[in-house]
Symmetry: C3
Subunit: 138 residues, 3 copies
């Protein structure tokens, strides 16, 4: 069994951003040399998500509006802020969109449907944060 681990680093300019990281994951898979197996891609921070959906700007704005409606950015709205933090909304947004994706590798490629793209969703950015890519297989 082969395995390979890589960290991807991001520092967004805005508090919330949605980055298509499919190419980064494809490069890591290629480096791993794994042809048949699984790749795990997860946020290493608890105020960010990795998810798979379409790369369409209107849809991404719909996602952002939805998350802001569900868990609004609000300095007074969260008990978590009694610790001095201001990112309670970001922890909740991450729970809704999830931490990770697991993708099948077949013949050395991400075994994807026609519109699947991997996104890093940052909900509390403007600082350096990481995504983990772990490949296992043969």
């Amino acid at each position: 069994m082969k395995s390979y681990r890589e960290y991807l680093w991001f520092e967004t300019k805005k508090r919330r951003e949605y980055l298509n990281i499919t190419g980064d994951v494809e490069r890591a898979v290629k480096k791993s040399g794994v042809k048949e197996g699984l790749v795990l891609v997860n946020a290493m921070h608890i105020t960010a998500s990795v998810y798979i959906n379409d790369d369409e700007p209107g849809l991404i704005q719909d996602f952002d509006r939805f998350l802001e409606k569900m868990a609004p950015c609000d300095p007074r709205g969260y008990l978590h802020h009694q610790t001095g933090e201001d990112n309670g909304d970001a922890h909740l947004k991450r729970q809704l969109f999830g931490r990770e994706v697991v993708v099948a590798l077949t013949e050395g490629k991400l075994d994807f449907g026609p519109w699947e793209q991997i996104f890093y969703a940052e909900f509390d950015g403007r600082r350096k944060k990481r995504v983990l890519v772990k490949v296992i297989g043969e």
Copy 2:
């Protein structure tokens, strides 16, 4: 290490349907010959989910009402529709219910609790769509 990949095809009659696919996944696992490992089951389209919960008709209606309340089917409600699409709600419902499940295989079987059943949740059906099953292990 063994690996096995199979696509399951579905074409629902209604826009939204919830199909119990546990038997399909069990058959794929059997074909794989894997006794100890993991099976990944994911929607290959971004307006559908794969999730694990109970096969009880009232509960499935509760799920459907909940998703429709959170992200209503609404021709004017989504920026995504400026592209000519009409399925913004389906992309959001999918985000809430997730893309995939990963299930442990032990002694050649899905290592499940008493009520776990795998569902394919279609949020924009009436056309052919796929689910991927990838088995790895020994």
Copy 3:
């Protein structure tokens, strides 16, 4: 390829509780002897979640309030209750927080960011319930 499976048992005193199970998972990984691979941790019951986030009491209360707002505990609110059940809310809360996490193992350890902690979220407790830990790798 090595594999290892262990069940963790829990019986909470309250209907809803959030338990940090990171130490239990670390012990299972150690027993497995796997240095490079993946560990799957999933609820085996469909009214509970396993998720990764911060171990901060205010945040956990924020999560609980959020889930109760989204899917309130309500004897009359769910069609599922026509079967005699009273836990429709717990099935929905579980859908929002997810069933499972998959974590990378590198050099024998959970490959975690600075604040990642694994939680068992019980939404219908006061009875014995299980979490599955499955480790695969080398």
